[in-house]
């Protein structure tokens, strides 16, 4: 049986109470793992969210979203951030940021502009795909981006996403689909998220992988990296302490 994961719940404007409702709904909808995006200084909120998830019996993944303006700024922000969050996502606002994020092993997820016009100029192209295939970073598509666009903008967005997914599949770059929910109404079932990939010519089984096995692989890989006995991919200290 598939275990589903939504790697992108945004921290809601109304705070922890609304987040608790969102997490409760995620649990009701059958999610096994949920990632919540926190700011870098939200230590207390992370602690409280962990307690909520523990009560609900779902696995919480801590995530942070970075929005640097330059590649240099990205490198600066990434320093020391890796041990604090299980998932690091970068919103690529310029070409140089996209290139740097795609080749940096500390970056897990790449996000591209939500506006359809901007997205046509800056999208996950073949160069990013080549860099990402070497660094294991994955492309993330947020359903909230698709639902937020109206009429012809949505059509343009889907066309760009179709190209991105084709590039990612060609070079075997992992990609996932997440809700990007920031309120209760945007939390959807995993098949309801996956169904948007069928609109961009993906098969149903592959689409379901992007809300189950693919995100879980990313989480598992990062958790292994965060262990103190981790040395490098495939190598760890036998009998070492676990964090």
């Amino acid at each position: 049986m598939r275990r589903f994961a939504d790697l992108h719940l945004r921290f809601p404007k109304n705070g922890l109470n609304e987040l608790e409702e969102m997490l409760r709904r995620s649990s009701d909808l059958g999610y096994f793992t949920v990632a919540v995006a926190f700011n870098q200084n939200m230590k207390e909120e992370i602690k409280q969210t962990r307690a909520i998830c523990s009560d609900l019996g779902i696995d919480l993944v801590t995530r942070t979203d970075l929005e640097p303006n330059t590649a240099g700024e990205l490198l600066k922000v990434l320093k020391g951030l890796r041990p604090r969050f299980e998932i690091i996502a970068v919103k690529c606002s310029t070409r140089s940021v996209a290139r740097q994020a795609a080749k940096d092993r500390r970056v897990d997820l790449l996000n591209f502009p939500t506006d359809s016009v901007q997205r046509e100029r800056l999208y996950f192209d073949s160069h990013e795909a080549v860099l990402a295939s070497g660094s294991l970073s994955a492309l993330e598509i947020n359903v909230s981006t698709i639902l937020g666009a109206k009429a012809s903008h949505r059509a343009r967005l889907l066309a760009t996403m179709r190209r991105e997914v084709m590039e990612a599949r060609r070079l075997r770059v992992p990609f996932i689909i997440s809700s990007g929910a920031e309120n209760l109404y945007c939390v959807k079932t995993a098949p309801d998220l996956a169904v948007f990939l069928t609109l961009i010519d993906m098969g149903w089984d592959s689409a379901l992988d992007t809300v189950s096995s693919e995100p879980l692989k990313i989480v598992e890989r990062n958790r292994q990296k965060l262990r103190t006995d981790y040395l490098s991919p495939g190598a760890r200290i036998v009998g070492g302490d676990q964090r």
Binding site: A151, V187, V195
Partner: protein, 104 residues
């Protein structure tokens, strides 16, 4: 040989701040299919609300069995109704009404 149409039945739940009537739900589904797939899409998907319980905010919608993903995408795309946020969640899908009602 005769051609027999096959259907899929989807049990859905509507989440909203206020209760929606059956007419609102039917119109919302039709509008969403039209917006995403146009008139051709509406003609091949053939969505039809079979029943809707206003108290429980749950209903059953029928579609052509080949185009279930398109119906699911249409339901998932409904985000507002009369400027109020709503969400349509597909709870269960079956090939017969009997099987759908059995488990729900």
């Amino acid at each position: 040989m005769t051609f027999r149409r096959r259907h899929r039945y989807a049990l859905f739940k509507v989440l909203s701040s206020s209760c929606l009537g059956e007419k609102d739900v039917r119109e919302a589904i039709q509008r969403s299919v039209l917006e995403l797939f146009g008139i051709y899409g509406l003609s091949v998907i053939e969505p039809k609300v079979v029943e809707y319980d206003e108290k429980q905010c749950r209903g059953i919608v029928r579609c052509n069995h080949l185009h279930l993903p398109l119906l699911r995408a249409s339901l998932a795309s409904i985000t507002t109704l009369d400027d109020k946020p709503v969400s349509f969640l597909v709870v269960k899908v079956s090939g017969t009404l009997k099987a759908l009602r059995r488990g729900s």
